[in-house]
Symmetry: D2
Subunit: 184 residues, 4 copies
């Protein structure tokens, strides 16, 4: 119930992904597993008027153009994931030039305009872009919720390290998606 006093936004990090890099197959497999949780969480957020913000790599296009980016990212490996989770017309969508969703993007300005004080961070890779985004959110004084079943990394160990550091250093809540929904 305490949740109701928080003003959340849902961040979806780098899920429009081509998985075209070394060990991209591992990350794609782990991402496939978390997709249902993220879809469930996104559906819940939209019902609750929690804004949904995609923050995504631009694949060296440096182009704020959703369709071009999806067109670039889609391939046999990524298509099943992108089909489940691609942005809808009323979702926000920002591109980011580096790992953190806050670096070189309008994310902080958007969150302040939406009067958000708590970010739910989901997506990939848990130990890289999700983690960098969480660190930057923490320095900007947002409360952080990273559902442990809504982030994926190349290896289980990588994901575990990142979750552990987010819990201890950033005081992140890491409850699973279903628990969050139930207790909201």
């Amino acid at each position: 119930m305490a949740e109701l006093s928080k003003k959340y936004a849902l961040l979806i990090v780098d899920l429009i992904n081509d998985f075209d890099f070394p060990r991209g197959d591992l990350l794609a497999a782990n991402t496939t597993e978390i997709c249902p949780s993220i879809v469930r969480l996104k559906t819940f957020c939209k019902q609750q008027q929690i804004p949904v913000i995609y923050v995504n790599d631009h694949y060296s296009l440096w182009k704020a153009d959703l369709n071009t980016i999806i067109g670039h990212a889609i391939n046999n490996r990524s298509e099943p994931i992108i089909q489940q989770i691609k942005p809808e017309s009323d979702d926000y969508f920002l591109i980011k030039p580096k790992h953190s969703g806050f670096y070189g993007t309008a994310l902080n300005t958007l969150l302040r305009q939406l009067d958000v004080d708590s970010v739910i961070i989901t997506g990939i890779a848990g130990n890289i872009c999700v983690f960098f985004t969480a660190n930057d959110a923490y320095m900007r004084e947002y409360t952080i919720y990273v559902p442990e079943d809504a982030i994926a990394s190349e290896t289980v160990k990588d994901n575990h390290y990142a979750l552990e550091m987010m819990r201890t250093v950033l005081k992140a809540d890491t409850r699973k998606v279903d628990q969050f929904i139930e207790e909201y």
Copy 2:
């Protein structure tokens, strides 16, 4: 000839514009006058491999989606301008949340990746978004060129003030487009 040692990028600020605000008609009229200079400069830059970067308002869409933004901006007043100057497939396109092209955008990261040290700033409004962008470029130690016939403001006086301050404070070059092309 000294120009050749500079590494330029061309910035086109807020030209995908709906002119839907008080005195928007004045700004649209003044923008119509400078469009040919900007088109000429853009053509020249592309011939010379100078990168072309649009940095544009997102009309509260917070959406990195070129077509949605053009769709939102186009109307009877803006269409003749947008038709002349809209981004081509090999131009960069970034959205900005505030007045400066550097604030909350990937512009600085892109310029550094392109190894640029000098920015050519064009677009509207000369005394607002162009000027804020020029100030931020100056603090980031770029050399600044703002062709006086490639920026427009609502009034001649506004434009004059901005050019005067960019010349004196930012040491901006303000030669006209044709002179720049001739002397390049």
Copy 3:
């Protein structure tokens, strides 16, 4: 009376100054004239619990060390000014590497921690560091008050241009100090 709902901070920009640059004598003379207004305003702010924040050049020392900076800046020209306006032990003091008080400094973080929504910007030069600071404050959505008798530039015209642009573009209040105090 509406003032009471605003949460102000007083910024004092670059007044610990050596005036050791071309036309520094002109700026020093104009600064001498505004010093009494700033001192009066600072006294009033401290009575009203409005925080006082110095944001100052570091003279290429890159050293967060107030005494070293004052030691560097003090000379025959600057001493009468510095004596009147130097920071007291309960004032905040930040160094800035460039023109804007927000660029590469903790100013925004400090203002947010102090829960400030309105900045009073004073100091020098009105058309350079004061103006850049005001622009950056505006993009960060602070309300801006720049008392016209609390900023100085090298020439009257420079100061006039800057005030004019701050009034029209940044919607800055520019009332004189005494009027602000009276109407608070």
Copy 4:
């Protein structure tokens, strides 16, 4: 020998520390162990004209004043550490408002002015301020060297996690200080 083509700066993070927080005694004990390595590295850097930059917490003073900060931090627990490692008159010294040395500070501007492309990050805590600083350095495209015997955390496990993530995600070099000096 490849080292010679790199342009380093040495960062010393939060070593002017009061250790006055839960488990501060653990961090103080671990910091005491790494102090000799940092002193040795600092001496070497100064011989090699590698700039030395302290980036330090300001203990809620928000005051760019080295002596005030040292005065605040010094106590029985911290004194032996501060005596060994406090800044000398020709070292740079910046205060930081948050965990990363880049956030709200002039560090990036200083590094660019010094023409640095590689940062040596030392200090405490290894899994918090050192790690956040390393992440931000990585996004700004600096090469990262974090000597494993020049950072300390509250627990060995915390330090180990941070080093592991810096090695794998940030591609950080983590050679010990003596090896770096020998191979330089």
